[in-house]
């Protein structure tokens, strides 16, 4: 997007939520940092963000895009399956917030 016409820069700040910080931590660990297993590269992270639909940049937050990309990579690499993810998401939605995630959020 370098050099394309765009609007005034609004010096906006955003205090990151705990879940966003955990997405950041997952990226570090899955990239092999801090004793994590190297299961992705930052280039894959970027590639999968670029692959999002054109309006994703306006519609999604920064860590929305990251968590989507990281999850895609884990599926592409066979670390998790789409089916497992679907079941897990349904389970958590039904569960409401677990005590652990409520505490950590």
């Amino acid at each position: 997007m370098g050099g394309l016409p765009a609007g005034k820069v609004e010096p906006t700040e955003h205090d990151y939520g705990e879940w966003e910080r955990r997405v950041d931590a997952l990226m570090v660990l899955l990239s092999g940092g801090k004793g994590g297993k190297r299961l992705m590269t930052v280039d894959e992270l970027r590639k999968n963000i670029e692959a999002l639909p054109p309006d994703a940049y306006d519609r999604m937050g920064y860590y929305d895009r990251w968590v989507t990309s990281i999850t895609q990579i884990m599926i592409q690499r066979g670390v998790i399956t789409t089916e497992e993810l679907g079941l897990k998401m349904a389970e958590i939605e039904n569960r409401g917030q677990s005590p652990i995630s409520a505490k950590a959020s």
Binding site: G3, D43, K47
Partner: protein
């Protein structure tokens, strides 16, 4: 120069005039669109790094590619550039994108 089999030694040195390849292939590419086809001067050699075009596709990134910081004159990059004629832009570019 072929990125897939090229040796990873630097072909350029600081001060050399280089041109960024004007090419628009698919894949994950770290050479910004706006700088392709423009000429600049090597400011420094940053070292050698895994090729991001390969690393993005679950491959090893080997052979590693020399990475350079290339300095461009803003007035050369943007037609009608309005700032100081001495303004510059520095971009990191991998060797296989330079000629």
């Amino acid at each position: 120069m072929k990125s897939g089999s090229a040796p990873d030694f630097p072909r350029f040195k600081p001060g050399d005039v280089v041109r960024v390849r004007k090419a628009y292939p698919l894949g994950h590419i770290r050479t910004p669109f706006y700088i392709r086809g423009h000429s600049g001067v090597i400011e420094r050699i940053c070292g050698t790094f895994g090729n991001p075009e390969e690393l993005a596709q679950q491959r090893s990134g080997e052979p590693k590619q020399p990475l350079y910081r290339v300095r461009f004159q803003q007035k050369d990059v943007w037609p009608g550039y309005k700032g100081n004629p001495g303004d510059v832009l520095e971009v990191e570019i991998f060797q296989h994108w330079l000629e």
